[in-house]
């Protein structure tokens, strides 16, 4: 892919490494990441009295209530950018079905028994689509909750739907978020660096994204870095 060549030109990477995320991708990721963290903390404060102290930490209940929807808009914009950048690479293929069927090997760290994932494995794709459609639902229900008092009484069923949708999707998102952070920070060493400094080692690519590795090898005549592989 010629886009890979463009990637390599953006910034120098250490020998034996390849650029996985451009600055633009990383910036979008962390815009979504930090806004999600704020939404999570203030949202949990409104979710349970046991966690209301979180709202106090973030400046008090009134400020949390005022800022939560605005930060929600920032998160929504970031998700839209993510869609524009990543959606073309996230379409499910037959391989992804096989990947899900073999997921127990992935969970038990027997990655060599997994069908070869491409640039994104099926789990990453599922996470992406969850946050795209889930984000859309959270935005729509959130808008109703934002302007609750403006809805006429005869439209109150929209409010009822909104509180259930907002809470349910938020809970699902917490599950996805926990797995995402666990995978990125703890389980796959090197993944966190890829979304901070942008690059991953070729060994990382070879083990976790063999399909993408093949694509890179195909270009190896053009990229000097790749000749250093093992």
């Amino acid at each position: 892919m010629s886009s890979e060549a463009v990637r390599q030109e953006e910034q120098p990477v250490p020998p034996g490494s390849v650029l996985r995320y451009t600055f633009r991708e990383r910036a979008i990721h962390w815009t979504a990441g930090f806004s999600y963290l704020y939404l999570l903390c203030t949202g949990l404060a409104f979710w349970s009295p046991w966690l209301f102290w979180l709202a106090v930490v973030f400046g008090g209940g009134q400020i949390s209530r005022t800022l939560h929807p605005w930060v929600g808009l920032i998160f929504s914009v970031a998700v839209c950018f993510m869609y524009s950048v990543w959606a073309p690479q996230m379409h499910f293929t037959d391989l992804d079905g096989k990947w899900f069927k073999a997921i127990r090997f992935y969970i038990t760290n027997q990655d060599e028994k997994m069908p070869p994932a491409g640039r994104y494995n099926a789990g990453q794709k599922a996470l992406f689509w969850f946050f795209f459609y889930g984000g859309l639902l959270l935005l729509l229900s959130g808008l109703i909750l934002w302007f609750t008092e403006s809805l006429p009484w005869s439209w109150r069923y929209l409010r009822y739907a909104a509180i259930l949708v907002h809470a349910s999707v938020a809970l699902l998102s917490i599950g996805n978020f926990m797995i995402h952070v666990y995978m990125g920070v703890f389980a796959e060493r090197g993944a966190l660096n890829s979304v901070i400094r942008g690059w991953v080692t070729l060994n990382f690519v070879k083990r976790f994204h063999p399909g993408w590795y093949k694509e890179l090898i195909g270009e190896s005549s053009a990229a000097n870095d790749l000749s250093r592989r093992e």
């Binding site: 409104f46 009295p49 009134q62 209530r65 005022t66 008092e149 509180i163 809470a167 060493r189 990382f204």
Partner: protein, 297 residues
Amino acid sequence: MGQATLRVQKISGHAGSVPGKDAQRDLEVCKLIDTTTCIGCKACEVACVEWNSMPFSPTMFDNTYQTMPETRWDYWNLILFNEHPREDNTLQWLMRKHQCMHCAEPGCLEACPADGAIVQYTNGIVDFQQANCIGCGYCITGCPFNIPKFNPETKRVYKCTLCSDRVSEGLEPACIKSCPTGCLHFGTKEDMKVLAEGRAKQLRDFSGYANAGVYDPPGVGGTGVIYVLHDATRPEEYGGLPSNPTIPMAVQLWKHPLKWLGNLAIVGGLVGLFVHYLRFGPKPHDDEPTSHQGAQP
């Protein structure tokens, strides 16, 4: 100073027990509204606005005696006027004084996430504490009677207090004091129920209202405001008084099963991920000299 004598029995968004709960019993108070003797004079509206130092709200004309469509954040008490065609094609005017019902099981308080923004006193009055209100509007969703109203300037929600400041000093609510026909009564819930049932029986036996009855809906645990209606089988005729009000199903699902399922899932998920790390650890790959520590080759 007045509220010093009011003790609290329920607190919104509160973790833990209610301080001083059950230390002192109190008689439940109740407002009785006899719609059959209301003449729609709106003296109660004026008294409410005056006592609570609220400005007069602009009215609108809709070809009836209705002065505004619904209560406002600074207009807590409104006579709802309805023209009800009888079966014999004559017309009946139904007037209903509309305000907070002070439910025994208040949906607003159930839905509220802010600690202490809504309290229920031991005498049954449900009161908003605007200092603690965060303006989320969940009480608006929780209320089956369309009562809490949002003030966009202060971003807080307001409603009838049942004149908790007056009641705590041994006075009746301002609306009661102003009523010229005696259709409004105030006292203990027990006494008001007896009075209401007596009046309903009188209407059934002597005035030809076979369906006359008392409105004290059990779906919200009974209310601190009860009505005598000419026709208790059709409360909707009185400006949309719900025949069987309950805390909305969505709010109950959200605050009970969904909350506990969600909390369990979050805690279970965290524990599960930690145990996974203990059992399997990070995924081994060739970059790390420590990778041979992994169980797999």
